[in-house]
């Protein structure tokens, strides 16, 4: 059996915060999330903005806030990712390509930050210089970029710089958080092409995004995430070639079908009828039955890689 680079099994995240003298309230942005990623692949986790999918990146990197309780299992190359392991792997094996330049320190030059990224990645100090030169030539950044500060970068340059910081040394797993937001079409294509190249070099790439239509041409697999549940994982190629009817879950069917490149179908808008039990899609599903409202379905695997979470 092939070894997965990253496996997430039934991840659930609960946030607790104090309210009043002795009160507490809890939020569960992630209820049950499962995914598998192999080296050299791109997997996109797609869900609407603000649905909590970015927390997946924080969980894998081990940077969740203290009031968060985690359940489930995260495995990296077959090994369970413990807190200590996450700490030692983040920045070296596992990297984040952040959403925007606001993740860079505004007070230091790009050169300085690339150097820090290289050192954190375990590049020996003697080789840092060459590593940086390689990175900026790889992403066609002029030498003068190194002297600039984050706020002086244009949108396209910012993407390249962020990708460059994440690819110092030899990462194995890259997590790209919303790599397309706020970019125009050319830059989206460019940004995703960089990720494709990295995947071809053997990296595993996890894209977290709300923009399904942007990633359909690049991702090998797509996992659809709705209200804390991952409802379906499918091979992108199959759907693009054979249409949305090959999908099994009614929500992912609707999602794909509504893309402008497919039917641009508008039958099912999002609705905030959130409930703690049952399938999050139940209230909008045509085939909804009592069972769907009672508890959320378990995963049933179609094959080794693809699964669907539906009672029917």
């Amino acid at each position: 059996m092939a070894e997965y680079l990253l496996e997430v099994e039934h991840l659930a995240l609960n946030f607790y915060r104090h309210k009043g003298f002795a009160g507490q309230e809890s939020l569960s942005p992630v209820v049950d999330l499962s995914l598998k990623l192999m080296a050299g692949e791109i997997l996109a986790v797609v869900g609407s903005s603000g649905s909590g999918k970015s927390l997946l990146a924080s969980a894998v990197l081990g940077i969740l806030p203290g009031n968060c309780r985690e359940q489930g299992l995260i495995k990296y190359r077959g090994q369970v990712l413990t807190k200590i392991l996450r700490q030692s792997l983040r920045g070296s094996d596992i990297r984040l390509i952040p959403q925007s330049v606001s993740y860079l320190n505004p007070l230091y030059t790009i050169g300085w930050q690339l150097k820090q990224a290289a050192l954190a990645a375990g590049v020996t100090p003697a080789l840092v210089r060459t590593e940086i030169t390689e990175a900026i030539t790889r992403y066609e950044l002029p030498e003068s970029t190194l002297k600039l500060f984050p706020h002086q970068l244009s949108g396209g340059m910012a993407r390249r710089v962020l990708t460059a910081t994440a690819t110092m040394g030899s990462p194995r797993l890259l997590i790209a958080d919303e790599p397309t937001t706020g970019l125009d079409e050319d830059l989206i294509t460019e940004s995703l092409k960089f990720l494709k190249t990295l995947a071809d070099d053997g990296c595993g790439i996890l894209i977290i995004t709300h923009d399904l239509s942007a990633v359909t041409d690049f991702a090998d697999y797509v996992t659809v995430f709705i209200d804390g549940l991952s409802v379906e994982t499918c091979q992108t190629e199959t759907v693009v070639q054979q249409g949305w009817t090959t999908l099994k879950h009614p929500y992912s069917r609707a999602l794909w079908r509504s893309l402008p490149v497919m039917d641009f179908w508008d039958g099912l808008p999002e609705n905030s009828g959130r409930h703690s039990h049952g399938c999050p899609f139940a209230s909008r599903c045509e085939g909804c039955q009592d069972l769907c409202l009672a508890h959320h379905p378990n995963i049933s695997n179609t094959n080794e890689r693809e699964y669907v979470r539906c009672h029917f």
Binding site: N14, K19, G20, F21, G23, Q24, E25, S26, S28
Partner: protein
């Protein structure tokens, strides 16, 4: 595991979270209650009780004319509170009007407001206070006006900055394209955002107003020397400090400082209430 229930939340006013605010309010209410229920006969002169040190009968001692110092201090603080409340309210209203006007009526209005603020802030505070109070003819009215007319600039600056930020907020820009008038935008879009700032500013002006009222009276430009105002009590006490009557200055002074501090605490509490996320 017993502590956490999923999906539950408790909302509403938390007594623990606002304990400081509540204690401060109780303190002020206590002061007002004292004013209402204390026997005012202690205000009269009683030459048999001259310069007595603090005791159970006279917790703050008596002065050189045998008057009870606790009663005098409480009466004095009430005068201070009244003057402070009026002055701070007038001041804060001036600030609100100028701040919003600066943002709404275009560039020239804004320049005028900024200029006024600069002028107000560049004049030495106490000199301005003395001048205004003197020009109006002193007394309660003089102090009130002096404090009111000299304390608006800093709050104006805060409110103007806030209003300017709102002015470029997308929903205000859209509101204009909906054909909404400046008045509508000022009252419906700006005010709800400025009210918390305004209230906090008002409460934080309060201690300033009280202290400056005391300062003016202390220097002799404020209230009539026969009214029991804290400033006057403190001024009088100066003459008796050397004779060992420490309670004449220390105790009223202490109560003044505590009252002022309580307003500070209330201001902070109200701020916490309106902007809980800025902890």
């Amino acid at each position: 595991m017993t502590c956490c229930r999923t999906g539950e939340s408790r909302t509403g006013f938390s007594f623990y979270y606002f304990r400081h605010l509540i204690l401060a309010l109780l303190f002020l209410l206590g002061l007002i209650a004292l004013r209402l229920f204390l026997d005012s006969s202690g205000l009269g002169t009683n030459l048999t009780l001259m310069e007595e040190a603090p005791s159970w009968r006279h917790p703050f001692g008596t002065d050189s004319l045998g008057r009870d110092m606790l009663i005098r201090t409480v009466y004095g603080l009430m005068v201070s509170l009244k003057v402070g409340l009026m002055a701070a309210t007038i001041s804060a209203l001036i600030a609100l009007t100028l701040g919003v006007a600066g943002a709404i009526f275009g560039r020239w209005a804004d320049l005028a407001v900024t200029w006024l603020v600069d002028v107000g802030m560049s004049l030495p505070h106490l000199v301005l206070l003395i001048l205004i109070s003197f020009a109006v003819g002193g007394g309660e009215k003089g102090v009130m006006l002096a404090v009111a007319l000299s304390h608006w600039p800093s709050l104006t600056r805060v409110l103007r900055a806030e209003a300017l930020q709102l002015k470029s907020a997308p929903y205000v820009v859209i509101s204009k394209k909906f054909g909404r008038s400046s008045w509508y935008i000022a009252t419906r879009h700006f005010l709800p955002h400025l009210v918390p700032q305004f209230l906090i500013g008002l409460l934080l002006l309060f201690p300033h107003a009280i202290l400056h009222e005391a300062a003016l009276s202390f220097l002799g430009f404020g209230l009539n020397p026969h009214t029991p105002a804290v400033g006057i009590l403190l001024a009088e006490s100066l003459q008796h400090l050397s004779t060992g009557c420490w309670w004449l200055g220390v105790l009223p002074g202490l109560l003044l400082v505590m009252t002022v501090k309580m307003f500070d605490v209330i201001g902070a509490g109200v701020k916490k209430y309106f902007t809980p996320y800025k902890d």
